[in-house]
């Protein structure tokens, strides 16, 4: 993709994820922070945002390990779908964390980071080294 092309909000989010970042929108009117994919401010409904990136690192708030996976994930031996809270900001996002076989592999509050965005598996995570 040429750098001159205008990216959609989701394409920008994916591009940032591929740099291990989460792209956020900061409302220029009220300062509220949201994920890049939201187009009006949830608090004041203005549309003027400043784009900002944060490290895609945070702590697991909840997750699951499934025995029946949806289409596109059948070939993955075992993984967790994870909701994690980003560091230093009151925002969560969700992702795919491969290699998790059982709940003991992923206690709540485990540190995870974004490693990229895969067109089949979405936002791909890994556990960080403690």
């Amino acid at each position: 993709m040429s750098t001159n092309e205008i990216l959609t909000p989701r394409q920008k989010f994916i591009a940032a994820a591929n740099r291990s970042k989460i792209l956020l929108n900061k409302c220029k009117n009220c300062g509220h922070m949201m994920l890049e994919t939201v187009i009006y401010c949830e608090k004041c409904y203005h549309k003027n945002f400043e784009s900002t990136e944060v490290d895609g690192i945070g702590s697991v708030e909840t997750y699951t390990i499934q025995s029946v996976a949806p289409e596109g994930f059948e070939d993955v031996e075992s993984y967790a779908w994870v909701v994690f809270k980003l560091d230093n900001i009151l925002l969560r996002t969700s992702g795919f964390l491969p290699g998790i076989m059982k709940p003991e592999d992923l206690p709540l509050k485990t540190r995870v980071r974004v490693v990229g965005f895969n067109h089949i598996h979405g936002l791909v995570l890994e556990k960080t080294i403690q």
Partner: protein
């Protein structure tokens, strides 16, 4: 609200794995509701249809097809989709149209047929009801989404897997008494705990089944109901609510904001409080959902429902019976039909058709049904007309 709205007739197919096609299933429930109301089909002025996965049985544009096959091709129909909450959200629109005086009598029918697609494809189809970019697209199935909600709730309120299992055991006890239920089988706590893990911490018996089925009701004005000379039920409250579409976007993952919002509106319209409700049909797609529902509806304080359910407070003879029909868990969950099926249960309870599962002396009932993980929801309150 201007005019009072009543339910004059109701009918359901059996829920489960059905052989008929989706249109035939819808027609069977519709005919049952029309006959229950004692009206002639030509008194129906509009058709409201709820359905999600018609495309899986090669049919979209469902409303005119159903109306045509009822012999009512001149009657306008509308199809509404809001994932698992389609039925109640469609009911709300039908209610609003009668209340506003646009129609005196209409048919509301919810229908679904998915079992022929098999577990793998159904799991994929249901994942499309999530906020797919963040959830289904990252590998979350529907049991997985509710499992993540369950893990959060259990951690926050120190609930355990036996608490979840208590919901399943109670709903199966009720479902055994419902001849139209999908899963008419008594189960024990041990059966639930020993059943295979579907999405940790949820096990097979924590999950409702994929079901086929249809439910239909006849809504009408109070004048129309009175003139019929037949038993009817009055709708006294209606509320709609919304939540962030994704689980990650919820301020508190242990509550469903759309339920709270819809319930508040419905209680206000009815002029009553949660303590006035004699029984409720709530959205128990997974056991954790019922625990959260009954707190969000105001029946129990936050974090206290699990113990109350374990102690029998929500059983048929408890202080607030929940899901006397067996709920989604035992009666089944044909997703487009579920919200209307709850209204059918209220009608049957209030008109002497619920047999051994009748809630004694009940006069006020509530239905609660949501779409996906609660992104959309509707709550309705009904009064028995003596």
């Amino acid at each position: 609200m201007t005019n009072k709205v009543c339910i004059l007739g109701a009918g359901s197919t059996k829920y489960g794995k059905l052989e008929e096609g989706i249109i035939e299933i819808a027609l069977n429930a519709s005919a049952s509701a029309i006959e229950s109301a004692g009206i002639s089909p030509n008194q129906i002025q509009a058709g409201y249809i709820s359905n999600v996965f018609g495309v899986a049985d090669k049919q979209v544009h469902m409303a005119p097809v159903i109306m045509s096959n009822l012999g009512l091709s001149h009657v306008p129909g509308l199809t509404i989709e809001s994932a698992c909450g389609s039925g109640s959200i469609m009911f709300r629109e039908a209610f609003a149209n009668v209340s506003a005086g646009f129609y005196d009598c209409l048919l509301a029918v919810g229908v679904e047929k998915v079992t022929h697609t098999g577990t793998a494809q159904s799991t994929t189809l249901f994942s499309y009801c999530s906020d797919f970019f963040y959830e289904g697209g990252n590998g979350a199935s529907f049991p997985g989404l509710f499992a993540s909600i369950a893990r959060y709730y259990m951690s926050k309120f120190q609930a355990d897997e036996t608490d979840l299992a208590s919901v399943a055991v109670k709903n199966h006890e009720n479902g055994v008494l419902n001849p139209k239920a999908h899963m008419r089988k008594k189960i024990t706590i041990e059966d639930v705990l020993k059943s295979p893990v579907v999405a940790s911490p949820l096990k097979l018996y924590d999950c409702c089944p994929f079901s086929d089925g249809a439910s239909a009701v006849i809504l009408c004005s109070e004048e129309f109901a009175k003139n019929s000379g037949r038993p009817y039920v009055e709708v006294i409250g209606s509320g709609r609510g919304a939540s962030p579409a994704s689980v990650q976007g919820r301020e508190d993952i242990a509550t469903i904001p759309s339920t709270v919002m819809a319930a508040k509106q419905a209680y206000k319209m009815a002029g009553i409080s949660p303590s006035d409700i004699d029984f409720a049909e709530v959205h128990d797609c997974f056991t954790i959902a019922e625990i959260i529902d009954v707190e969000d509806l105001g029946f129990f304080p936050k974090g206290k429902a699990a113990k109350a359910i374990r102690d029998g407070a929500t059983s048929l003879s408890g202080e607030i019976p929940i899901n006397p029909s067996g709920g989604l868990k035992s009666k089944g969950h044909p997703i487009g039909a579920t919200g209307i099926g709850q209204v059918v249960e209220v009608f049957d309870q209030f008109t002497g058709k619920s047999g051994q599962r009748t809630v004694k002396d009940a006069k006020i009932a509530l239905t609660h049904n949501f779409g996906a993980t609660g992104a959309s929801a509707a709550v309705h309150i009904f009064k028995k007309v003596e």
